[in-house]
Amino acid sequence: MNWDRRAFVKFAVGAVVGLHASPLVPKLMDDSAIWTQNWNWVPNPEDGALAFANTVNPATGTGVKVCVIAGRLKGERLIRVEGNPEHPTSKGGVVPADASALQNLYYDDFRVKTPLILDQRTGMHVEASWEQALDLVAGKLAELHKAGQAHTVAALGTEAKTLDGELLSRFMAAYGSPNTSFNVSAADTLAMAGWAMTGDENLGFDLLGANYVISFGTPLLEGFGSPVAVRKAFAAWRKDFKRTGTLVQVEPRASVTASQADQWLACKPGTEGAVALGLCQVLIQEGLYDRSIAGAALGFEDGDKGMGFKTLLAKNYSPGQVAQISGVPVETLITVAKAFAKEPKAVAVCGPGNGGEPGRLLDFMAVLALNALKGNLGKPGGLVARQPLGLKPLGEATAYRGDKPRLDGLGTAKRPLGASDHLSLAKGALAGAPYKVNLALVAGGNPAYASPQAGVVRDFLKSVPFVVAITPYLDESSSMAQVVLPCGTFLESWGDSLTPYGGAVSEYGLHKPLIKAYDMVKSQGDVILALAAKLGGAVAQALPFAGAEAALKARTAGLGELAKLAKKSYVVQEKPAYGNLSFKTPSGKLEFFSMNLHNLAVKLTGEGGMGKVLKAMGVTAEGSAALMPHYEPPAALARAGHGRLVLAAVSSLRTPRGDQPITPYMIKVLDGDTLANNDQLVVEMNPQTAHDLHLYEGDLVKVTSTAGSTEARVHLFAGAAPGMVFMPVGLGHYASQNAYTYRRGGNYNQVAEATADPLSGLPTWGLTPVAVSKA
């Protein structure tokens, strides 16, 4: 055959037709698509039998099921955290911190896998055995004890009443140091308010039973109590497309709660307490209040202690006056108060602030007063007293028996009430008065990053010659430690959690080791107990447990067998303890004028000096009003104005508050109005306020307070109150081991300034005067 033009065309056409008819082309394309994707660096997760184990996430209070997969070659691993539908309060459902918990568990670079000891020559941590590390720490502690310096050891824990907290407190008391501090929380403030007015420290809000809820400045849907459980109540108010419950939110920003609420009362910052008092006054002037309990309460009418609560309200908190203070219109106050009085199951709620701060005691007292006037104490859908679960103590009460004063001044005239907190401890230690700290034991948390005014706590830890950190993570605090002892996350260790803030029923959550992700990691309790055993003597006697499991067994002896309990992972009371509250106050009645507070002040100074004590505690009101719910303008506001704005926090469930590190998934789901391009922090401002400062959307600004400063991009948000700047919390980690969270935005706690709350003395950091300037 001649290879001419015709033959060539025939061949070409034939080839094209042939190729189209054959499966060769699709086959090759398919193969090449598969082949180009067959790269060995794309992981191939091993399959295996699935099983579920129950546990409770102590950080969120969510009851969860963890999916365990048993791989044939690589063994067991956890692959998912899901909600546990059987858990009585969280009933299934998770928040981002639950669903992404495995990312913190399995991130090798971020985890402490073995004990680490700082090499003084290189400044690097080197791996050590448990024996070496414990010997070093116990040796140091014994040395200080021998030198009579036991009181110069400070411990910074996370939660006082959990197993880990109790073990730490006992350890420190038996060792001989008064300086143990824990994170402050709104539960402390609520306990104080309850103690002052009802004598009961375990009050809760029956959200699930209520159908009218007024929330005063607390992020009910963004971080109040157990977020999943709160959402169950919220979902019940919106069941099947019907609105059966009304939510009213009082706060200065169009937050998620404010937007989801049926009514938003936009008040000026820090005036939520005044709004509560204004509502109280409307209830009284309209005759809509409960006369049997509130009307008969101590200090309601004028009496021998001076002006009564009723007169105080009429004098200072008429709707007109409150409208002046808070900016909420008179008519709105009256309609809301009337609706609140009319609903049979209505409750007023107070709680943590947006930055996680513990709230203001006087505001909490005002909210309790409002509930009392409503007459919902002990009623379904009202304010209830939780019944204790019956946890056994870990042994005889051990308290510090020495004569050295606490560094945070707790229990002195300046701070007679109050719970401990890291910031006051750090301030006291930095001042060196009356002594400095020689050894700091950071147990479980990350105070150098997460405590209020974190810069102060970081400086304090820097100033301490020997820092020991017991932690699962290589975070800001452990990077400053001489010795780092690895403890497990809640998925790999024994521990427990108590009723989330404001819960109407008592809860107990127990977590157990579900997996051994790293061989040398122990439960935090085990580490404290091992240290106690090494020290011997009184410390070992106060903590006679073989391990955290044994300690839990002793603690939960009244709740049944530990193995069964651990399998179920929770004990939750069926329903709130309804029935009238039995007031454990000195008068045996509800008290608007708090005798407990009065007696405490008298004890400190005698009747004559009471005014002075109260002044020292930051209360400016005179006479009987000082010990009654009243409104004190926040100290921060007095210094705002003159070109200064008021900084407040934005809380969200996509960013954690407190010690729990943010996870990669949580960083990922942040929108551009929280974390802008190139990982820059975003602050919200009202367009008018920004205009006045000549700032535009996306401008880079520097937000500066007396505590510190950070850079951020401006986002104009009409829902932000004028004159304020709103900053997200939980960002701005600077420990470089976690590549996903390192330098993502700035840290709110670095900028926010903590001031002592009047009366409670707790640090509060919700409002800070700041200067905002173009960077």
């Binding site: 994707q37 794309v42 928040v95 669903a99 399995y106 497309f241 109005d673 109150a721």
Partner: protein, 264 residues
């Protein structure tokens, strides 16, 4: 048009009703979805053009000045469009590699990464931005590959991915039903986001089965779909009582009232 008649013949039409008045924007659904479907995290996730979120929660606001401002959230999975005139799902009709397909039995728009040739026509065709292209390989550094779910294959760079209504869960439920001799019940097949939502804002099920809750809820006049007038005839219904939220779901003219304008 009644709900069942909106869709073509086929045994099931799985869909969702999302109650915007219940959604609190917590992100639980998004994170649960990522952990279920092995969606990874890049080191810079603030570049949202390259960030992959099968279930993305969009925040919107009513644009009113203080103190009348309100925000709301639209959780947006793949909406699994069917098209209103026969089979015409926007992404399926443009895929040259049959990497995405409309399942006539379930109404689920599938996505098969290993078939995908990375042309991204579907990304452009999707009116909801529900499709994502893997510009990079996902890093799974330092042990982070351990929690990967074996039921879903991790993807590589160069392919498109999107929400599949957790199809692997349907397969698992079908296997279980087959072995047990029963049928796939409503609660046997639920997506990860539905299970995760702590407020119960998402309801998932078969829109063609009148016994399923989703079919009952979707009939409500308060329910609507995103960009309904495009004729995508999708299967994710949203619900709100707030008119401003509803107006944002489509391009309404000033004098048009949502709910009174017929979908094409």
């Amino acid at each position: 048009m009644s709900l069942a008649n909106r869709y073509s013949a086929g045994e099931h039409r799985f869909g969702m009703v999302i109650d915007i008045d219940k959604c609190t924007g917590c992100g639980g659904c998004t994170v649960a979805c990522m952990s279920e479907n092995n969606v990874g995290v890049l080191y810079d996730e603030t570049d949202k053009i390259r960030s992959i979120t099968w279930m993305r929660v969009y925040q919107v606001d009513n644009g009113k000045p203080f103190p009348e401002t309100q925000v709301a959230f639209f959780p947006r999975p793949c909406l699994h469009c069917e098209g209103s005139h026969g089979h015409h799902t926007p992404c399926v009709s443009v895929c040259p590699a049959t990497a995405t397909d409309y399942d006539p039995q379930t109404g689920i728009v599938s996505q098969i990464p290993t078939r995908c040739i990375g042309c991204r026509y579907c990304v452009g065709a999707c009116p909801y931005h529900a499709r994502y292209f893997n510009w990079f390989d996902t890093p799974w550094p330092a042990g982070l590959e351990r929690p990967l779910n074996p039921a879903v294959a991790p993807r590589m760079r160069g392919v498109v991915e999107k929400c599949t209504f957790c199809y692997h869960r349907y397969q698992r439920a079908k296997n279980k039903a087959f072995l047990g001799g029963g049928k796939v019940e409503e609660m046997d097949y639920q997506t990860a986001c539905t299970e995760a939502c702590p407020s119960g804002a998402i309801t998932f099920g078969d829109l063609k089965n009148p016994n399923h809750k989703v079919a009952q809820l979707a009939q409500s006049p308060e329910c609507f779909r995103l960009l309904e007038r495009l004729g995508t005839n999708n299967k994710v219904y949203y619900r709100t009582t707030r008119e401003w939220v509803r107006r944002l779901a489509d391009n309404y003219l000033k004098d048009e009232k949502p709910g009174q304008v017929a979908a094409s």
